[in-house]
Structures are given as C-alpha cells and as structure tokens.
Symmetry: C2
Subunit: 329 residues, 2 copies
C-alpha cells in the first residue's frame, strides 16, 4: 500500500497568544522561565488579563511540526481537537492553509479551543502556559484507522500523553501503525511530561517507537541523570533512532550504535524560541521522507529551527524548502 | 474642568487577520491593491478560506492611533463596539493592555466582532477587506457625555461615518465636545469614505473640526482634484489645522496660513504598511497634548509611523516614547 500521507501527527490543537514581558513578570508570579505548564480556565483568564497586548498565531507542538513539513514539500495530516468557536476556526484555517490535511471534527460542548499563553522575555526565551480546553476531548473515535494505516510515519506529541482520553487514542494509533508496518515517531515534549510518564515513555522507546526526539533536559530526565553522556548511552541501547537537540549546540543523532553530531545554524537575532524543537522535528522528518541521510536530516532540522526562532510565532514564515535546498542542495 | 483624558477616540473595534500573498492573489479576485473595502459575512468567509495562514493582531484605525498615543505617555480612551466572543475578548484585552481606557459594553446579539482581512504583498503594501460586524452597532447610548466633555480632544475615525447608527453617535459627540470647548479631530480614513461622504466631510472641516488628518489621495478626493497643491490651497482656507501625509515624502501641516513640511523617517525595511496613517495621527496628537510645536508634532507622527511599518500589525511594538525622545529630545 502506498503511503497516503508522509506523516500523520496527533497533537494539541492550540492557538498561541504571544506577548512580551520582562523576566520579572514571571518571577513575580512564580512561573519558571522557559517552562511549559498546564493551567485551568480561571488561571488562563487571570494571567491573560495581566499580559501585554498580544498577537495570536496558530500553534500546538505537533501541528507546528507538520506545518513545517508541508512547507518543505511533504504531505502531512494532523489529528487534534478544537471547539466550534473563533479560535477553532483560526486553527483549522491556518493548518489547512499551511498545506496539512486536517479533518478532525470540532467538539460541540462549551469547552473552548485550547490556547497557549506565551510570555516572551527580551532574551527570546518563551514560557508557555497552556489551557488545553477542547484538546483533551480528542478520542479514539476521531482516528480513522485506514488513514493511520496509510501514513508512512505516525508522529505523537508527548504533551498529549497527559490527558487520558487522547492517550488512549494514541495507543490505538500506535497499534494500527505497527500492525501495518509503519514507523512510529514521538517527541518527549517537555521535562514535566517525562517526569509524569517516565515509565510509559521508556516503554514506548523500548518497544513501540522507531524515532524519538528530545532535548538535553528531557533525555536526562528520562534516565534521571544530570549527565547527558549517560543519558545518550542509555538511548543508544535501543534500536530506535534517538535525536537529541541541544539549542545553540546543534543536535546529536543516535542510530544503531552510530552517533552523528550536527552544528546549529547561525541565527542573526533570536526573537522568540517558541517552536524551535517542533520545527527541528519537522525539518528532520521532511528530509527523512525525502530519503536524505541522517546527518542531513539533522541539518534540515537545524535549518527549520533557525528560521522559526527569528520571528514571533511557531509556524514557518520563510520558504523552508528553498532554505534547505540552498544549504543542503 | 481638567481634561480626564488627553483624547477620546471613537472608531471601529476590529481584529486584524494578516496574511501574506502575491499581488496576483488580489488581481485574480479583482481587489484593488492598497485599498480598503467593506465586505459582508459571506465574502469574509470565502476570502479567509483562500488566504494563507495568518496572524491575528488587534487593529481598528482610531484604536491603533490611541494605542500609539498611550505608548507615548498620553492618556487616551476608546469607544467602539465588539461582540461577546473570543475576538472581542482579544480586542478588549489588547487595547486595555496598551494603556487605553476602554469600557464600551460588548453587544449581545449574534453578530460577531468585526475583523479586517489584510493581504500583505511582498512590497509591504496592505489591502484591507473589512467585515464590520458588531462595530456598526455602536450607538449614542454607548457614549458617556461627561467623559466626552472631559477629554481634551475628541478624535473621530472617518471609516465609522459610513454606518448610520455610529455616525449619529459621532455627531452627538461632536456637539458635546464643542459645547464644552474641547478640540475635535478626525481622519478622512480612505478615499472611499471621502467619495461617499464628501459633503459631510467638507462641512465638518468647515464648521466642526479643529484638526484633520488625510493622505494625498484622500485630500485630493475631498476637493475632486488630481492636483495636491490645489487640494492644499483649499484646505488652507479653513481655520482647522490640516495635516497631509505623503508616505515616503513625509507630511505637510497647514496651520493658519503657514505650511510646515516634514520629511519621512528612514525605515530599514517596509514589512507591512498597515497602521502607518493611524500611528502618524497618534504620534502627532501625543506630541500636541505634550505641548510640542507643529513641526515636532509632524515629526513625532513620522517616527511613530516608521516604527509600525517595520513589522506586521498596526500596534506599536517598540518603545515609542523612547524613540521620540531620542529623535526630538
């Protein structure tokens, strides 16, 4: 069976609300700078009221990843839940306009579309406060088994392992993908995800996943160590390809006993780091489905990540396909 | 009576939906590049579906103007109508976060908050397609006469002269302001506004307005001439101060028989011209209430306009107060 999509991603369908603030804004509220945390509707309202004027740009980690893949010429699909409201309309419009198949029905209840309140500090660092809203209502019923079976890669957002109903849907999708000989990829997403689901994530890596993305902090958290080399030694024991992103230090690909080290792309000015990891994964997988080598996949990831941190918002603005072609040929 | 606000502005409460497109996108749809036009709900939906992924940033001409004034240290208020929906929440949040008093109640009907679908072409030019929505429901009942009477300047958006109910509200506001010895300022907004309301706008200038902003095309349309000098000769006959903006050619202030010519500020890269005129008016009036000379008011306008065309969106992002202080002292 020919793959209908290069990748089918399951993730949170969020609209980002991005505002700038000094680091003291976070300190005064005891919010850890650079982190992602989940907040409820009440806190979302209080925090939003305190934030500066913002800009709204569609986001969601896996959604950003597939938007990046589409910009590089791949054929992705996205599964995630919005509500039947204005933010949901914006999310659906934007992901389709990016060239991603998106057909998940909007929920009909009163829970609104999820949003991520992002505070960007003057150093370009982003601190994310996520109100999941309708995202949590994604269920098995939203997955079309044939579409999952027909996608070359199933890509899972670690963030969505937290709410139980979407987690069950992702487990089902893994079973379908594997039964059909498809690849399964995932991102560890965040240290809090790893802390909360360490046993599950280790089990996924051991037995169910072919490709895993994580940053230094996440892979260290996965193996409860402060030492990146120790964590990478553990990762290398698995048959899955593990890709460790290291911000300005580039990325390391661990593949069947081999280790590929790739430098980061230079960036003129880091304005907003939101989406760096998402776009890295997008660049990597777009290059992979195009048949490139592992080091070139990592380079494509670095190129896509460098583009997205040069502007506000986590969706690509430049012509990623041209950027990658110019750099990698 | 001490002025409670430096300016009270009445205008459209819009959220801008900004997406990039080649000029051919407009040509194929017979949309005049660089124009503003009003569209209905159906066309808004069709056009939005065809647009690329976007970013949502609060807008509205007079709202942008007062956001700019607040950024320069003035104390503005804004009167305009949103609906009780997510875009309305965004508009209200952003204008308050900008430091503008905004207390107009949201409408309770089914008409949604207005939005402006903005197509930005690679030259930075913006083409605006405005669905007014709840904006048109602004009425006399939304105006607090004491607040109008207590504001140093009443500022009116020409765009809002089009729908009849808000027009009546603005006429009432003019009467209150004048009865209380306050200044009345307005912007011609757009050639289509001038074409549609030429007699009214001439009458306003003749008898009711102390300060008028317009660009070259608008003032030429006001006097039905292709010749800017002819139009300026007509403008100079009135006691009102007339300020003519000329894009990269700067601005001309016509004041009691005198003519002050000011050059435009240099801009590294014009990314999106949305809001240039709005921020010019904001910079001008903020300097005026601070007691600056007419040429310095025009210079402050040029500085504020230059800032806003260097990024997407029509609200200031840089510290305008510091920018103006650095340039004008």
């Amino acid at each position: 069976m020919t793959a209908r999509h290069d990748v089918l991603a399951i993730g949170n369908a969020l609209v980002d609300v991005i505002a700038e603030a000094p680091a003291s804004f976070l300190a005064e509220r005891n919010i850890a700078k650079g982190s992602m945390r989940l907040i409820g509707a009440d806190e979302a309202e209080t925090l939003y009221a305190a934030m500066a004027q913002g800009r709204e740009i569609s986001g969601g980690s896996a959604a950003n990843t597939v938007a990046g893949m589409a910009a590089m010429g791949a054929k992705p699909a996205f599964v995630g839940r919005v509500a039947n409201d204005q933010l949901g309309t914006i999310f659906a419009h934007d992901i389709r306009a990016a060239g991603v198949d998106f057909t998940t029905a909007a929920s009909v209840g009163t829970t609104p579309t999820g949003r991520c309140l992002i505070v960007v500090t003057p150093d370009g660092d982003r601190t994310m406060n996520t109100y999941l809203g309708a995202c949590q209502e994604l269920s098995e019923a939203d997955l079309d088994a044939e579409t999952v079976a027909a996608a070359q890669i199933l890509y899972l957002e670690g963030y969505l392992w937290d709410p139980p109903v979407p987690r069950a849907a992702m487990k089902k999708a893994i079973a379908v993908a594997r039964a059909n000989g498809r690849k399964v990829a995932m991102t560890l997403s965040d240290v809090f995800c790893v802390e909360g689901h360490r046993a599950d994530f280790r089990d996924l890596l051991e037995s169910h996943v072919d490709l895993m993305f994580g940053n230094e902090n996440e892979v260290c958290a996965l193996y409860q160590t402060q030492n990146l080399d120790e964590a990478m030694a553990e990762l290398a024991k698995h048959s899955a390809i593990a890709v460790v992103t290291r911000s300005s230090k580039g990325a390391v690909v661990l593949e069947g006993g081999r280790r590929h080290v790739v430098a980061a792309e230079p960036v003129a000015r880091v304005l907003d780091t939101t989406g760096a990891g998402d776009l890295f994964a997008g660049g990597f997988m777009a290059a992979m489905v195009a048949g490139r080598s592992m080091p070139d996949c990592a380079r494509a990831g670095c190129i896509a990540a460098a583009e997205v941190i040069g502007h506000f918002g986590a969706r690509p603005e430049a012509d990623l396909k041209a950027l990658v072609a110019a750099r990698l040929g």
